[in-house]
Amino acid sequence: MAEIDFLTKRSSQVRRDIVKMVHSCSSGHPGGSLGCADFFVALYGEMMHYDPQNFNMDGTGEDLFFLSNGHISPVWYSSLARSGYFPIKELATFRQIDSRLQGHPTTAEHLPGIRMASGSLGQGLSVAIGAALSKRLNNDDHIVYTLHGDGELQEGQIWEAAMYAPHHKVDNLIATIDYNMRQIDGDVDDVLSLGNLKAKWEAFGWEVLESNGNNMAELVATLKKAKGLTGNGKPIVIIMTTEMGQGVDFMMGSHKWHGVAPNDEQLAQALSQLAETEGDY
């Protein structure tokens, strides 16, 4: 499929951007960013309707996306730049002083594509519900998407929001969980187990889908299925299994690359594993 081929190639480029960005400032979060590259590329390359040249806060007539686990900002910045929101070369300013590309996403620097600050975890689902209700009041039938870390689900506010959305039939909302089963201190199951995650969301009244988040064809098919389920009186959540560090072999299989940047040698090694498909910044 030409479409899947295009998206897969873009994922590789986004992954190159990610490792270059965290390397150049010697900080940031490559692990989760690499794991979610396919999701972001599918979202911005295939699923969402948006107008990057005329970004405005209200986003009326557009689909909206909220990143709740703001620390994986590199993958979002790369995806936004590669989708036309701002110049690709601006990725070089990530985490530098006077940059619009703050360590965690913010509206304060007026970077097109961002509608809410995130970083302190657990807040994005509530915000997305508010934005979805606003769309309902405006008779705007577009969709609100979110992404959350699995470790982030340990925050209580997530479950306040999870209880609200089904009760009030917020059905223009697709939440996604990056289920890589790792967090800063180790495996989620060791730190604070989420138990049966699917059963939890179902018990709260959500329509639950599952997908491999690193298989582009399966991911796009699941996202399309989720979109088809909107408007049926229930919010939708996709539990998306990913591999932290996906695409760079020495970053995979562990939590240790959650928030560590590669050195020069490691950068070269990582880039040698990721094809340059659209031109580096």
Binding site: S120, S126, L133, A161
Partner: protein, 318 residues
């Protein structure tokens, strides 16, 4: 206008001023939406909720989610008013307000009732005395604490047209009505009385006590320049400096901890521009307790006599 023109006969709770104005705003502007965390009756939001059910969001006892939802509702040009007790509007949800509202520059109106000691019998768990300080410290936040039913009504109307996050603090008890229901300007103090001996700057319920104190002080030969500082941030520096230039001393009165509130805000202005002796009528770094509102004000040093005493001391220190 002077303290002698203020002889109110009517009393009402300030929260009703909020509820009545919110109901009117609902009729006037379709962008206005309201959220409440299971305290619709206490916040007097029933009229709005009943007339505009599509624009009223009952969040249940989940204040963090309510603040996030309010932030999200602004995306799509809504003007959300959140309603719960002051304690649950600030301390409980500080990080949600900080990140999703203040830092994200969202046009949310955080409307907080049952602030301070005058909540009364429920006691210290609910009597927040730190909320002004918490909200003042947040960049982008406007902080307003009106003095009676009329001013709360007027302030509620005014904040709708103010672009940016606002913390509006009001209370539970029935309180004398003496302010204007129509004239209210954010950031512009109400000059209640002209005097030359001492400046008294009061906010919230304490404004009425300051009026009573000024009347007593006048009998003792001390004339009071009296300011109602309903907007604590941004504070009306010009009004403060004009007054203390004339009087040479100041008393602040607030239903709040002496740390973080109006007193410190005023001191910041005077120390940087025109240092003068200042006396603080405020709660002395303690929690409250159960009791009748006026008894509590007396016990915690916020009575009319405390303002009189503070004024005399300020004058002596000149």
């Amino acid at each position: 206008m002077s303290i002698h023109d203020l002889n109110p006969t009517d009393k009402k709770d300030t929260r009703s001023g909020f509820g009545d104005a919110l109901h009117e705003l609902g009729k006037e502007d379709e962008r206005v939406v309201a959220l409440c965390a299971d305290l619709t009756g206490s916040l007097k939001m029933n009229a709005f909720a009943n007339e505009f059910p599509d624009r009223f969001f009952q969040t249940g006892i989940a204040e963090a989610n309510m603040m996030g939802m309010a932030a999200g509702l602004t995306i799509g040009d809504k003007i959300p008013f959140t309603g719960t007790f002051a304690n649950f509007s600030t301390g409980r949800v500080y990080d949600q307000i900080r990140q999703s509202i203040a830092y994200s520059q969202k046009n949310v109106k955080i409307c907080a009732s049952h602030a301070g000691l005058t909540l009364g019998e429920d006691g210290a768990t609910h009597q927040i005395l730190e909320d002004i300080g918490l909200m003042r410290m947040l960049p982008n936040m406007t902080v307003i604490n009106p003095c009676d039913y009329n001013q709360t009504f007027a302030a509620t109307k005014a904040i709708k047209d103010h672009e940016g996050p606002v913390y509006l603090r009001f209370g539970r008890p029935s309180w004398p009505i003496f302010a204007s229901k129509t004239s209210f300007e954010i950031g512009k103090a109400w000059k209640i009385n002209d005097g030359k001996d001492v400046t008294i700057i009061a906010t919230g319920h304490m404004v009425w006590y300051a009026v009573l104190a000024a009347k007593e002080l006048e009998k003792l030969g001390i004339t009071v320049d009296l300011l109602n500082m309903h907007t604590i941030k941004p504070i009306d520096e010009e009004a403060i400096l004009t007054s203390v230039a004339k009087t040479g001393c100041v008393v602040t009165a607030e239903e709040h901890n002496r740390f973080g509130g109006l007193g410190e805000a005023v001191a910041q202005v005077t120390t940087a521009n025109m240092p003068v002796p200042q006396e603080f009528v405020a709660v002395n770094d303690s929690f409250g307790e159960s009791g009748k509102p006026t008894d509590l004000l007396k016990k915690y040093g916020l009575d009319v006599s405390d303002i009189v005493k503070a004024a005399k001391k300020a004058v002596e220190r000149k």
